[in-house]
């Protein structure tokens, strides 16, 4: 969406933003002052879809001068150090952690904060000498990240193999209770030991992370990858140029029948979104000089050939609910067989459309965009009608086994990421194996990503990232908070009621 000059004035004098939030926000407003028809060659038709909210460009701006998500291969630093920053290869844990912190501050993204900080346990483990003192260093390192990378989309990975460093990271995560960095265990039943998996389950209940990703499935679909931002699976040493999303819940308002929606509206809007994405990528590669100027490219942390782009959707539940109404069926998505059918028809059609579209500079994914189940970190009122991704609306969820099976069937479409989250009650802390059974079961049924937390904890997962309940309350009372994601959290909760997600209690 384009901005107006007035946005700058109101941001400058906002009462609930830090200096840094104002700085980044004003930069973003600046990027949206230009007319994309002039800067990117958007057509009038494309503009209409942004203005009527059917397509959301997540305020990426109209002079895209860096990729949205960057997934550096930090092993390059361990091997070579960094020439541009004049740092030698690390020789011990101190020079490693220090060097990584320096590097992070030079990794751009759409929010200007790094969304991927590496496979932390693999990076750190070779440097572990004395567990006791190294633990203190790891904990300090993680805490440093929380206070300086003030954006919970920042994501670290651990696993699949159990390491000493992996255990120390989990221990620190529980002690710190910080929202950042987000953390994912790359889970592979063949490679991840049961002890490590159980430790991760326990940590997840106590600190709302790590989440669990289906390493085997992603490795097959994306190759070497990192889990970044919310739960996006993106090529390692690459990333995603851009992410736009279709608001299915908004598009459906124009539909006169299910057929009309799937055969007419969906292809029409999807094609416009694809062509906008093409134009953004072209600008980035051909005009912004990002890949020519960044030391990340020159020194091999990233390679332009490894970049792809994400074709997102939100509001599947809302679209399906509306179409069920049009069909005269009094059921809701999540508890309706016909609803599931409509959902699959929408997504297979979209998969087909996206599979047909030839996009520029997308070598790694054969010229095709990857579907992404976006979770709507947006303050826009329009998102009230667009439930995150393919999730069931809060309050319309079926019992857990049915919920899992329903959701599992939709994961296959979203190669660049989808995930579900479930709140569990306290009793599971004494029965970690039971929770691991559920996670393993979900993966065997085609889940890509699953995460859990205790309903009553202060750290809560909003859609894919973590916020402190208490911080969101503070922001809602017009007080300044540290993280931009706390502000998103406030918007998402007001729109989607996620803090009241159904808890799984079984006696």
């Amino acid at each position: 969406m384009r901005s107006v000059l007035n946005d700058l004035t109101s941001t400058a004098s906002a009462i609930n933003m830090t200096y840094q939030q104002k700085l980044f926000s004003m930069a973003n407003i600046g990027e949206r002052l230009v007319d994309p028809r002039a800067s990117l060659g958007y057509t009038d038709e494309e503009m209409i879809y942004i203005e009527n909210n059917m397509i959301c460009d997540l305020n990426e701006g109209y002079l895209p001068y860096r990729p949205r998500y960057i997934v550096p291969d930090y092993e390059i630093f361990v091997k070579n150090g960094c020439d541009f920053l004049d740092i030698k290869p690390p020789t011990d844990i101190d020079t490693l952690l220090d060097g990584l912190l320096i590097l992070y501050s030079h990794v751009p993204s759409i929010t200007s904060f790094p969304v991927y900080i590496g496979r932390l346990d693999q990076l750190i483990d070779p440097f572990i000498r004395d567990e006791e003192s190294d633990y203190i260093k790891i904990k300090r390192f993680l805490n440093h990240i929380d206070k300086t990378i003030v954006d919970s989309f920042c994501h670290g990975n651990i696993g699949p193999v159990e390491t000493k460093a992996g255990h120390l990271i989990l221990k620190a995560v529980v002690e710190l209770q910080n929202p950042t960095p987000n953390l994912t265990l790359l889970y592979d039943a063949q490679l991840t030991s049961k002890d490590f998996a159980l430790e991760a389950v326990k940590t997840c209940l106590l600190a709302a992370k790590p989440s669990f990703s289906n390493q085997v499935m992603y490795q097959k679909d994306v190759g070497n990858h990192g889990i970044v931002s919310c739960y996006n699976a993106l090529p390692l040493a690459g990333g995603a140029y851009t992410l736009l999303r279709l608001r299915l819940g908004t598009m459906v308002k124009k539909a006169t029948s299910t057929k009309h929606f799937i055969d007419i509206i969906l292809p029409e809007v999807a094609q416009n979104m694809a062509s906008m994405m093409d134009k953004r990528i072209k600008f980035m590669v051909e005009e912004s000089n990002f890949f020519e100027t960044s030391f990340l490219t020159k020194e091999g942390f990233i390679n332009q050939d490894n970049f792809t782009a994400m074709f997102g959707i939100v509001g599947l539940a809302d679209a399906v609910n509306e179409l069920l109404k049009l069909e005269g069926i009094h059921e809701t998505f999540g508890q309706s067989e016909r609803g599931d059918d409509i959902g699959h028809n929408i997504l297979s059609k979209l998969e087909h459309i996206v599979g047909q579209h030839e996009a520029p500079y997308l070598k790694r994914t054969d010229g095709h965009y990857l579907l992404h189940a976006q979770v709507g970190a947006d303050l826009s009122p329009e998102d009230r009608d667009n439930t995150p991704a393919h999730r069931i609306k809060v309050g319309q969820e079926p019992i857990l086994p049915i919920h899992l099976a329903q959701s599992a069937s939709f994961h296959k479409y979203f190669k660049s990421g989808t995930g579900d989250l479930y709140a569990f009650d306290q009793t599971y802390l004494d029965h970690l194996e039971a929770l691991l059974d559920i996670i393993q079961g979900a993966f065997s049924e085609g889940y890509r990503y699953i995460t859990t937390y205790l309903q009553n904890s202060d750290l809560i997962r909003v859609t894919g990232y973590l916020v402190k309940r208490s911080d969101v309350e503070r922001f809602n009372n017009n007080q300044v908070v540290l993280r931009d994601t706390d502000i998103f959290g406030s918007g998402t909760n007001n729109n989607a009621n996620v803090f009241n997600r159904q808890t799984r209690t079984y006696e």
Partner: protein, 280 residues
């Protein structure tokens, strides 16, 4: 064969009825009547007297051809019906065939390790459950029976043979008649025989004061378990929540404090028995 079984409740995912995540199926009906039974509405089969029907505030109950019919979709789980039932029963049961139950279990299969039959007393339905257990085992799942220990071992041997093991209650020994209304000590004999053929998953005793011979019960179980290190002994402190008013009047004052309860753990330790779990 379209034989059906009365089921009080199915909990798709339970983490307390054996290792890992399990589906728990609670059958209706039990031949004992223990003072502290926390789900005493599972004891009797409904007599269709109709008393509960008029007490339901949500029109979830009705009478059709002399039978009380329960409509789950209208029920708010207020449990008024259970409170007013004079016969330790509930109208909220469903009759299922083996195929009905298998369909549910198949849909839960990816997420569970097995199925636990609880109750009520599952061994009352040994024939039905034997065949069902065989089908469940074919899915690669384990089957446990949660039993009060009072059954005719030889008569239900096919069931014993078909399942992986028992979660066995030893509620009391000398005071079992006062506590549960049975005269004999079949449960101890059954424990011995099940142990011999490696069919015990765990033994459980609910502890409360006054109404039972706590130390004697603990000793009797621990002595028998000594040579079976793979079988843990779970001690559970009786709680007041979940008791009906009449029960509360009867056993309320016999509920142990946590401190009293933990002392029984010490007793076992002093005896040299360590393979127990304390559930406060």
């Amino acid at each position: 064969m379209n034989q059906k079984i009365l089921v009080n409740q199915i909990i798709p995912f339970s983490n307390v009825d054996g290792e890992g995540n399990r589906c728990s199926i609670f059958v209706q009906g039990c031949q004992l009547n223990c003072l502290y039974c926390h789900n005493s509405e599972t004891i009797q089969i409904c007599r269709h007297c109709g008393i509960c029907v008029e007490h339901c505030p949500s029109k979830a109950l009705s009478i059709h051809s002399g039978l009380v019919v329960y409509d789950e979709s209208q029920c708010t789980q207020c449990d008024r019906c259970i409170v007013v039932c004079p016969y330790q029963s509930t109208p909220k049961t469903n009759a299922f065939t083996k195929d009905d139950l298998m369909a549910k279990i198949v849909s839960y299969r990816p997420y569970i390790r097995g199925v636990t039959f609880s109750g009520g007393e599952p061994t009352l339905y040994a024939d039905f459950l034997t065949e069902l257990a065989q089908k469940i085992k074919k899915l690669g799942l384990t089957v446990y029976i949660d039993s009060n220990g009072f059954f005719d071992f030889d008569a239900i041997f096919p069931l014993i043979n078909a399942v992986d093991g028992f979660l066995l209650d030893i509620k009391a020994v000398d005071s079992i008649e006062h506590l549960c209304g049975v005269k004999d000590q079949t449960h101890l004999k059954n424990l011995e025989r099940l142990l011999e053929i490696d069919k015990v998953i765990e033994v459980r005793t609910v502890l409360l004061n006054k109404h039972m011979d706590q130390i004697n019960t603990l000793n009797q179980v621990a002595d028998r378990l000594e040579v079976y290190p793979q079988v843990p002994y779970r001690l559970i402190r009786a709680h007041i929540t979940g008791l009906k008013k009449e029960q509360e009047a009867l056993v309320g004052e016999a509920i142990m404090t946590v401190k009293e309860f933990l002392a029984y753990g010490n007793h076992l330790r002093q005896k040299g028995f360590h393979n127990f779990i304390l559930q406060k």
